[in-house]
């Protein structure tokens, strides 16, 4: 168990390092000199050189990378070339918003997918089960931002019951915070719920064919009792894998949904950074998102070990 965890941890650390190199190398390709861009066309060469020195962009790439990555490890994302403000705190603020958005979406997805998928598997021969499968197929075909637009149309435009966008911090007004997040959560949750439903269904179907379920019934459990006691935990193993992948997808989906609902999260920050050519900011946000995905994978691996004694 400990060996397994250490191995996974090593993979996480190594992947993060390689991802750091990749992101840095990629962004270093960016044409244009940040100092020149910051000062505009009419800047004197001396001023540009001075600024370059301040940014550190006059030094060799390797030492720039070491600085950047070393800073990252300590939570220092550097100072924006464009706005001259530190990047770390900005990312910190936005990360919380995006995390709440993604986790809320995931909870809704699970609340939909686990009962619906299990039901569809148990009743895979009757019309209602087939209907659920078909509905999930349709749900998958709808991108999160389209779901968002549809939800806005129904709940904000027609029913006028919920705000069509905007974000109120929870500290300011918890009620407005909740109401504002409901539609974004639903946009992410409904779509991911549909995807997940299919996986839950097929995982439960697979488990239902397992011999140990027959053993459980031979012990005197009913069909549902056997599935509940012996099936769901076994079925959860493949579902956890997908859940990990889904969380990563949700993170990306959140970027788009933030745009639909005008929510100041990481996605919003990233897109603003690109628009403003804020290289270091983009680099930082991309890195945070990638590390988040890697961390999710790590958590999935740990969850496996907890769920499955064969891995310990």
């Amino acid at each position: 168990m400990i060996l397994y965890l250490l191995k996974r941890l090593a993979v996480l650390v190594a992947s993060t390092a390689v991802a750091g190199v990749a992101v840095f190398a990629f962004m270093a390709l960016l044409p244009g000199d940040p100092a020149e861009i910051a000062l505009g066309v009419n800047a004197t060469p001396e001023a540009v050189a001075a600024l370059r020195e301040r940014f550190g962009t006059d030094r060799p790439p390797l030492s720039q990378f070491a600085d950047w990555f070393g800073g990252l490890i300590q939570g220092d994302f550097g100072t924006s070339y464009v706005t001259s403000s530190p990047i770390g705190p900005q990312i910190g603020d936005r990360l919380g918003v995006t995390a709440v958005l993604v986790l809320g979406g995931m909870v809704i997805a699970l609340l939909i997918a686990v009962p619906a998928g299990t039901f569809a598997a148990v009743h895979h021969r009757n019309p209602l089960g087939v209907t659920i499968s078909a509905a999930s197929q349709v749900g998958i075909a709808i991108p999160a931002f389209l779901a968002g637009i549809l939800l806005v149309f129904v709940f904000a435009v027609k029913a006028q019951a919920l705000p069509s966008g905007g974000y109120v911090p929870i500290a300011e007004d918890p009620r407005a915070w909740l109401l504002g997040l409901l539609l974004p959560w639903l946009s992410l949750g409904l779509v991911q719920g549909a995807v997940l439903t299919r996986y839950v269904r097929s995982a439960v179907l697979d488990v239902m064919r397992e011999d140990y379920l027959r053993t459980a019934r031979a012990k005197g459990r009913g069909r549902m009792g056997a599935l509940w006691r012996h099936g769901l935990r076994n079925a959860s193993i493949p579902v956890v894998t997908v859940l990990g992948l889904q969380l990563a997808t949700l993170l990306v989906g959140a970027v788009v949904v933030e745009r639909v609902f005008v929510i100041p999260g990481l996605g919003d920050l990233l897109l603003n950074g690109v628009a403003g050519r804020d290289l270091l900011l983009v680099q930082g946000v991309v890195m945070v998102l990638v590390v988040a995905v890697l961390l999710i994978n790590f958590v999935v691996d740990v969850t496996y070990a907890v769920l499955d004694p064969r891995l310990r």
Binding site: A19, L146, A248, V256, V282, L294
Partner: protein
């Protein structure tokens, strides 16, 4: 042994067929010029030669949808092509020597690429080279490589233990020959299924990117951008969001159904290897 043609397969084929047909016809004919800005037709209601009405610039929605189908298929074909061309050989190599260092390396890199979703790649590429159809296609393609490699690897590993491969290996055939003559033809059906599923995801990604302004640039019509442009008019003219939204959903549904249906039809035995989403 082939499975039977199921309803999903037919429905999927029909939906995909409609998208392909619309795209092909758009080369020779559209009701109106989809890029023609005409203030006199601003937000024109459906009817009178404008089947689905016109947008805020007076452009015909139906014509835009037709050319948008072209954009969608173009991005999908190139992206899936990139993913298949890179992912398949990597997956086959990893699957033929599952314990070798090369396989280990391939799968590790694969996992790492998996951490970079299409959207992030596209945003990064867009930041460097300027966003456009090309960067979107490359980003989606590269991000889809891991899915192809995984499926190719899993299918190859299954094929490698079959009698005819064992016979070929016993006969001393070279690995490359085995890969080309025996493995590829036998994992082909899985790859076709994967291509169909990946196509659906590529459509979703392209739509999202265009929606964010990182995809196809104006004036070339794209379903995702039509949606983005319609958002501010959602209160007054919701139909502008309805049609491109429906187009995206039906196209994605079509490719997904086609993929699932093909899997059941082509190779019922291999159903256990799921296409990666």
């Amino acid at each position: 042994m082939r499975g039977r043609v199921n309803a999903g397969l037919i429905a999927g084929a029909v939906l995909v067929g409609i998208v392909v047909l619309a795209a092909l016809v758009s080369f020779v004919w559209t009701p109106h010029d989809p890029t023609l800005v005409d203030a006199s037709n601003k937000l024109r209601e459906p009817g009178g030669g404008y089947l689905l009405g016109a947008d805020k610039f007076g452009r015909d929605t139906f014509s835009q949808l037709m050319v948008g189908a072209r954009t969608t298929l173009y991005v999908g074909i190139v992206a899936v092509g990139i993913a298949a061309l890179i992912g398949t050989p990597l997956g086959v190599i990893a699957g033929m020597t599952p314990r070798g260092w090369l396989a280990e390396l391939i799968m590790r890199v694969n996992d790492l690429v998996f951490a970079f979703p299409a959207l992030l790649l596209a945003v990064m590429l867009g930041a460097v080279y300027g966003a456009g159809t090309l960067t979107a296609m490359i980003a989606i393609g590269v991000a889809t490589v891991p899915a192809f490699a995984r499926v190719a690897r899993a299918a190859t590993m299954q094929v490698m233990v079959t009698d005819y491969i064992l016979a070929a290996r016993a006969a001393g055939r070279r690995r490359a020959a085995i890969a080309v003559r025996h493995v590829l033809p036998n994992i082909g059906s899985m790859l076709i299924v994967q291509a169909s599923v990946s196509f659906a995801i590529a459509i979703l990604a392209e739509a999202a990117l265009s929606f964010l302004g990182f995809g196809t640039r104006p004036p070339i019509p794209s379903w995702g951008r039509m949606l983005q442009e319609s958002q501010e008019l959602l209160f007054s003219t919701p139909r502008l969001a309805l049609w491109p939204g429906l187009a995206i959903a039906l196209a994605v549904l079509g490719f997904n159904l086609l993929g699932d249906g093909l899997r059941d039809y082509l190779d019922p035995k291999l159903r256990r290897i799921r296409a990666e989403r």
